[in-house]
Structure formats: C-alpha cells, structure tokens
Symmetry: C2
Subunit: 321 residues, 2 copies
C-alpha cells in the first residue's frame, strides 16, 4: 500500500445546494466519517424566534436522502400547513418553512437554548438521520454574512430570500468572522496526517465559501495543510448553475468565469476542476487544471465528479511527494 | 324595552373542550363582542421553547370553526409532518403538536418575546380568525396549575398529557394565582351596568374553572357582579362527559355529582343548570335550578343550551329586580 493509500481523510468546504450535490457524491466514495464537511453558517439567522441554519440543513437533508430534488431546497414529502396557518394569523411568511423542516429549527433552537453547541446538535441530528459523514459548522460562534447594496447594508436572508438577490451588491462582510473560533475538529482534520485532500465545493464563492475562509485561522490552516487543495468551479461557460454567483461577480466588477472564481482561492489552490467547456481558460491560472463534466444532474454525475476531484488531488499529491 | 333588555353583556368562564362547546353556543346567541369569554391559562406551559395556551386555543379554534370535531382537540385538516420529523431527530413527542397548531404557538412565542401581552396577542389572533366574541385570558400574569399526587407535585401537562391523569391526586395548587392581576377588561365587564349574566361553563371545576376563580380578586368581582351568576354542570348522571372531572372528584373525596360541583361555586351562584337526569338532586342545593339537556352533541344542542342558560339567568334577574 502506498503512503497515499493511508490518506483517507477528505475535508470539503460546502455551502448550500450546489455544494451539497458534490458532498453527496463525495459521501458515496469516501467511507463514513473519513469525509469531513465544513458547513457555512454565515447565512444562519433567527426567524420567528427559531435558529435556522440553511446550509447545514441542506447538506444534512441531502446526505440523509431527505432533500426535495424537484424544488431544490427543503425536504421531500413536505407539507405546508404551518405556513398557511401562520399567514392566517398575520405572521411573517416571506421565508418558507415546511412543516417537517420546522422540526429541525424548533429542536435546534430548544437545544441551543439548553446550552448545546450548534456543532454538537448538528452531529447528533446527522447521526439520527443516518448521515455517516461528519458535518461540522465552520464555527460555533456567530458569523453573519451581510451585503452592502444601494439600499444600504442588508442581512443575508433579507437580501437572499426577501429581496431575491435583486439589489446590486457593492460589498460583502462576514460579521464576527475575524473573532470566530474555527471549530477544533476542522483544525484537527486539516493537521491530520491522514488528510488526503481539501475540496472547495462548487458553492457560491461570496456567500458560501467566503464566510468559511473568513473565519479566523481557517484559511491559513487550509493553506498549510499537508495535502492538495482542490476547488471545483461553480461557473460553467460564464454562467452559474443556480443562484446569484454570476450576478454577484458581475456587480463586484469581476469577470464571470471559472478562472475568476479560482483566483479568489489562488493562495490556497493546488489544483482546479472546471467544466470541459471552460478547459481553454485553464492555462491562464498557472496551476494544474482538471476538466470535467461539472453539471451534476444525476446521482451518477455527483459520484463521477467526486471521483474525478479525488483523482486529481491524488495526482497532485504524487507529483509533490 | 325593559331594563333587562339593555343588559346584553355576557361573561362566561371557560376551560377547554366542554366549556368551548357552550362558548360556541353562546357566541351564536350573544352578538359580537357582547360575549366575553374568560379563558383559563392555568394549563399554559412552555414546551420545545414554545408558549402553549391549550384552553385559549381550544376556544379560539372552536369559535373560528377551525377545531377538529372528531378528535375533540386541535385543528381540523391538520397535518403531523412536524411531529414525525421531530421524532426522527430524537425530540420530545409526548405532547402532540399539529403543523397548523404550531403556527399559533410559534407566532405567540415570537410576539410574547417582542413584549406583547398574551391578551393582546389572543385578541389579535381572534380578530384575524374572525372570532367576534372577546376571548380574554384570566390574567396576563403567569399562573400554573400543579397537582400533588402519590408521586409528588406534577406540572399540569405532565399530569394531564404525559401521565394521562393516571396518578391519583391529593391536592391542587394554582401557582402564582394569588399574586396574579385579573385582566382589567374582565373586571370592567363584571362591573359593567350592561352585564346580563356570568356563566360558569361546564368545564372541569379543578383544572379549568378553579384557576380562574383563584386569580386574586376575580372570585370576589364575580360575587359582587350586579347580574345573576349561573353555572352549568359538567357532571351528568354521576359521570363526566369527557376528561378527568369525575375521577378527580372521587380522588379528592367528593361525591361525584352535579350537586357537588355546584357546591364548589356556591358562594357565587344564583342559579344552576344541570342535566334532566340529575333534576331530582336539585332540591339539595337551595338555589334555583334549571334542568336541561346538557350533553352537547350537535351544534343545535350547544345553541339550545346557551339559550336555556341565558333564559334562566334572565328569569333570576327578574326575580331579584
């Protein structure tokens, strides 16, 4: 067995829907708790008195097979009786909460109020739902993504859900990130001699990966990890598969391209996986690039891309070894 | 028009299901906000971080036509996705919360946390759900019914739901009642020259009416009201229609009878409505008694009993006038 053969631990930075697709793929090729998913909590918020962690929940539901593949968010076989009743009582309905989803928020809020850390609750939820991978919030401290727009600073969900990303953005802040403590399990995983690779999933670089990398010490810990760091582009042929990534890049004066996303991570990256349609851009980056089919429509797509990402990382490890 | 004709205001003390049936009947014969329903809050509790007011909600749902007539509690067309999902997460499921019902608790909790009084929230909920009668909590202060059993003191819901009223009771306490302030609207209604009658609904005398009468000053205000006070027996032929009334009376060493219930209110009562099957007991009480069909199976039963109660009160008023 080669030295690389013992390197089984995969750390993946992950936001919501796009990231969760690759996380699911990774979970099918990386056994059990050798997969450590770093969940973004920058878009966590309190709503109706409930503590909501959208990205953690998307990843958890996806890996548990509870996600709704048609709608793209929330749970399958969901009902909406709560929202209907809430509307009749004059409650706020701009953020859709399914009845089953609500259980996650109510129980999380109860346990947080009882003093449990978000990471402990998340780990327990995952165990109960049969998720073998370790899903770890980037921090147990409070970090809140905010966006400066023409209308002033907006909280993330105000921008993302209530305003549907309409106001052009001028600046992004991750309130609390500079003083937040990266979760110790993540720092330990990044120092673990078993570390095979760090994957940056094809999530929104500003809203999903940005907050994770902003947590004090986490970017440095990734940069110093003794394993290849590989990102997967969320941009295919100049467009985002889903969500506001392309719109935001454009508003921030960035080129909307796979290469421009890679440049945001460039101090970290050992390799980059981008779509075949963007392969011609590869030479601009100056790092090894792996073209792949990155549009994950089927479960097989997710698994194939995961294998491709790991293979590219393993190839980088051999070169550097 | 007689003097009695101007006396339109009806105050009714009301617990959960049994009381709500008569409240619905009263709401069909007493127009709009001339009906003031005094809601028991002694069985309010916090559960999963939510503030739950079971009796207020039962009355509100019943008057709004949202109650489930088959199940006898909760909302019609209810779904239970939340409970299923909560169970999967290892949450507490001994208290059944329907998805639609949950909206009431979440929104109430949110508004309470924002500083609104329970009474203001209840009034707004009722308005939005089209309930014309005024539903007023007995107090905005915290009162908690507790029961001493062989197992020690139990909180109300622990006794009522979790233990299904199984442990024999030895004593009942209404924690906080002695220092609670009766809601000012209730004191005003009891002093209002328009007061026609005060009705004590056929609710559990220990768990529903007891807490109301224990609120500082409320029993005295009822006793001093310038209108007849009439109770309706929750016991028919020595049995309770529903719930633990008969069992509790027996455990407390009381005779299980309509008359024994009336004796608990005797300092207040000007008249008593009991079932025709119990008419022979009437003479024992020494107050005017009205036999009636008190088992409210149909909507017509509710309305007929309401008319009968009001007629008995009006007759008493004429005698005293």
């Amino acid at each position: 067995m080669s030295a690389a053969g013992k390197r089984n631990l995969v750390v993946a930075l992950c936001g919501g829907i796009g990231g969760a697709k690759l996380a699911l793929g990774l979970s099918r090729v990386v056994p059990g708790d050798d997969l450590v998913l770093v969940g973004n909590t920058g878009d966590d918020f309190e709503h109706l008195g409930l503590m909501i962690s959208p990205d953690l929940d998307t990843i958890m539901y996806t890996l548990a097979g509870l996600n709704d593949p048609q709608r793209g968010w929330g749970r399958r076989n969901e009902t909406w009786t709560f929202m209907d009743a809430l509307a009749a009582l004059g409650g706020e309905t701009w953020f859709a909460l399914g009845d089953g989803d609500l259980a996650t928020h109510v129980e999380r809020t109860r346990r947080r109020a009882a003093g449990e850390a978000l990471s402990a609750i998340t780990a327990d939820f995952c165990r109960r739902l049969g998720v073998a991978a370790r899903l770890v919030p980037m921090t147990d401290d409070k970090v809140r993504t905010r966006l400066r727009t023409e209308e002033g600073w907006l909280d993330f969900q105000d921008y993302f859900v209530r305003r549907r990303c309409a106001p052009p953005i001028q600046e992004i802040a991750y309130d609390g990130a500079a003083s937040a403590r990266a979760h110790p399990d993540l720092l330990a995983a990044l120092r673990d001699p078993r570390l095979r690779t760090v994957v940056i999933c094809p999530s929104n670089p500003f809203l999903s990966i940005g907050p994770i990398l902003a947590v004090a010490g986490l970017r440095e810990a990734i940069a110093h990890a003794a394993a290849p760091v590989v990102a997967v582009s969320p941009i295919i042929g100049g467009r985002a598969v889903k969500g506001p990534t392309a719109k935001m890049m454009s508003e921030l004066g960035l080129e909307v391209s796979a290469v421009a996303v890679a440049r945001r991570y460039q101090d970290l990256l050992d390799g980059y996986v981008l779509d075949r349609v963007d392969a011609s851009e590869a030479e601009k980056l100056g790092i090894p690039v792996t073209p792949a089919h990155t549009l994950m429509t089927t479960l097989a797509d997710r698994e194939t891309l995961a294998r491709r990402v790991l293979a590219s990382a393993d190839a980088l490890a051999k070169v550097s070894a």
